[in-house]
Every structure is written in C-alpha cells, then in structure tokens.
Amino acid sequence: MAVEGTSVALPQFLKKIELIKQGAEARVYRGSFLGKPTIVKERFPKLYRHPLLDEKLTHRRTVQEVRSILRCRKAGISAPVVYFVDYTSHCIFLEDIVGSITVRDHIASTQLSSAQKSPEEHLDQLAQKMGQILAKMHDEDVVHGDLTTSNMLLKAGAESGETELVLIDFGLSYISALPEDKGVDMYVLEKAFLSTHPNTEALFEKLLKAYAASSKKSHAVIKKLDEVRLRGRKRSMVG
C-alpha cells in the first residue's frame, strides 16, 4: 500500500481539500474527515534547516501542540478536539470550530463598524474573557508561546447565545510554572495586540486587570511583565 514508514494517502488527501492558510511553518486545510468538519495542520519540512534537526523540531511542535490542547481541555479551557495525528507527515487533524472568527477579525470589524458608538466599550467583555481564560491557562502551567489575537477564535455558544473563546496554535507552547515565562507570554500578547489593533491600550489594560483578578499567581506574573516591558524599552532606546 505504501513505502514502509511513510504515508502516500495523506498527501493525496490534502490535495483534495481546501487550503485556507499557507504559513511559514505550516499549511492549514479545511475538509471532511470521518464525516466531520475538520481542520488539518501540516507542518512541512523547512529546506534551509538540516533535515535531522528539522525533523526533530517539527516533531516536537506537533507533540507540544496536541499535549497542550489536551491539558487545556482537561482544565475546561476550550481548544479544538484532536481527531488524529500523523507523526510521519506531521499532520494534526482538529475539530473545525465551525462558524468561528478570529479575535483579530472580530476586533477589527468592531472597530470599523460605525454603528458602535464606543467600540472599545463593546469589546470590554471580550477583553475580560481573554484575561480570565489566559489566567486559567497559566494556572495550568501552560505557556502558549505565540499569543496573538489570530490564535484565539470566537464561537457562538450553542444555546446561551454567549460567545466562547477557543485557544488554538499551541505549536510553540510548553509547560512551565515560572512567572517569568508567563510574563513573557503576556508581553508577546501585548506587543501583538497593540500593533495589530490601533488605540487599544485601554482595552489591553482591561484584559490585564481581568487576568490579575482571576489568578492568585498573577501578581508575580504581572511583576515579571513589568520587568520585561522595561527591558524591552531599554533595548529599543539603545538599539
């Protein structure tokens, strides 16, 4: 059926489904798998890296992604269900969060919408929810490693009408209890947030406030965040 150790079925399957994102590290596809709407994330070889090192890194990211998803889900933090993993082609098959949009797109469209008198006020609830969920994630010692508003999805809740925040893209995640690691995680988010969404300083402050209020361990993290910010500023002054 196939050359020992490798799958011919997978590349053929990927050719037939819809490519939704070609990134630097991975291609993301959308299609049907075992009858369910599914997202396939394929980490492809990076030709500039030594093949053995590349294989090792790619494998590690695939493993980290599924491990952190499971860890989050166990704690009641929403992340897509893992359906299938192929460690030879480095493909992860995930539940497609149908009808979702990224937090990035949601914020952007809310800011644009002229119907909203005060878009930031409208987004307050979302920022609060983000802060709470990230605090919960950090309490599980999951450090995401790539917190951006593109790596969070909003999904309309089943009946409640309340929207659910779903975390994705855990390829750079790791397990750590260190406030420093969590502080850097929040710093990465802050940088990404403020550069993607203009005039959101106040909104991001609300996120941090909710983060601080949600976790007993947040104090040490915020302290580290302040230190990292200072370091960042110093560096940019020198550089």
Binding site: S7, R67, I69, L70, R73, V81
Partner: protein, 188 residues
C-alpha cells in the same frame, strides 16, 4: 410519517448499521454492526481468533458513539499502511487504539468482547462494494441486531469516565474527551 409506513424496510436498513468511507483511504469503508441478547459470545470470539470472522469484536459498554470507533479504525488503517502497527492485525489494532493507555493486554480486556458478554459491536474494514462479508457475519451472531446509534444506551458512562480519566470539566462532551485521549496517547 407515511413514507416510513410504506417503506419500513428502507428506513430499517438505513439505521441498522453505519458505514463510513475513510477519506484518507478512499477505497476503504468502515462498517459497524451492533447486537444485543447475544448468546454465542464465546463462539464468536473463537471464530475471530481463528480468522473466520474478519472483524473486531468490541465491548459496546466502553463505546460512547460510533465516531469513537471510526477514530480507532482510521488510525489502525493508517498505521497498517505505514507498517507501524503495535499489534498483529488490523482488527486487534482497532481494539488497541480505543484504549487510552499503551498496555495491549489491558486494551483487549477492557475493549474486546469477552465470553460472558451479551452485547457486541462488530467493526469491519472492507472495500465499498464488498458487502457479502457483512451478511456472513450477521448470520454467525446468535443475537438481535439493533441500530448502531443505540450504542449510547449501552454505554457504561461511569466506567468510561474512570478508564479514560476524564475530568469534571470535560463532562459537557464525553465523546470529545475520549477521542482526544485516543488520538494523543502515543505522546502522553
């Protein structure tokens, strides 16, 4: 309403078993059959071991939904095709894949049918047009075939939760919790 009155057999046969094409292996189809009041479990098991039944005999009390079985079957066919199975046959691999742990004998004990069972879920992997096989197996079971979706009525939820070590936070969807563990057990 009227339609189901005039065409009872059609309605009947469409819900009795489930078939699903494996999208990754488009020539392969997975069929699941469910039986209750089974009186010849020991004989069926012997048949399976002797290769007279080409299918996996599963204890349905550990199954939350037919989708759980599909996830196990897809993974088995995949590992079969890449030469990386952990067990000796495609059917034993399906049973092994259902388990949250890497202990093979434990997997068979929990997820395989045992001689004293009175219900069984049979999984077949076959070519789409190959249906004779299914008829042969149905003839071998001394029991009553019931719709595959009824497997949820046979689920021992407490046992499933305990074996897969699910958390209270995951109670909103037990199937999701189970599937995640099956899919990721190799790296846990």
């Amino acid at each position: 309403m009227l339609e189901s009155f005039f065409y009872p057999q059609i309605r009947f046969s469409s819900v009795m078993y489930s078939t699903q094409e494996l999208e990754l292996f488009p020539d392969r189809t997975v069929t699941q059959l469910l039986f209750k009041d089974v009186k010849n479990a020991a004989e069926l098991r012997k048949n399976a071991m002797e290769g007279k039944i080409n299918g996996a005999l599963i204890n349905p009390s550990m199954i939350v939904s037919p989708f759980q079985v599909l996830v196990a079957a897809n993974k088995a066919v995949h590992l079969h095709s890449t030469g990386k199975m952990k067990t000796r046959s495609l059917y034993s691999e399906i049973i092994y894949n259902l388990s949250p742990t890497n202990n093979i004998s434990e997997a068979f004990k929990r997820f395989g049918m045992s001689d004293s069972d009175s219900a069984v879920l049979i999984v077949l992997v076959h070519l789409k047009e190959e249906t004779q096989h299914m008829t042969d197996i149905i003839a071998k079971v001394d029991g009553q075939q019931i719709p595959i979706e009824d497997v949820s009525m046979l689920t021992d939820t407490a046992k499933v939760k305990k074996l897969y070590k699910t958390t209270p936070q995951e109670d909103t969807c037990l199937l999701d919790a189970v599937v995640c563990r099956m899919a990721t057990k190799d790296v846990m």
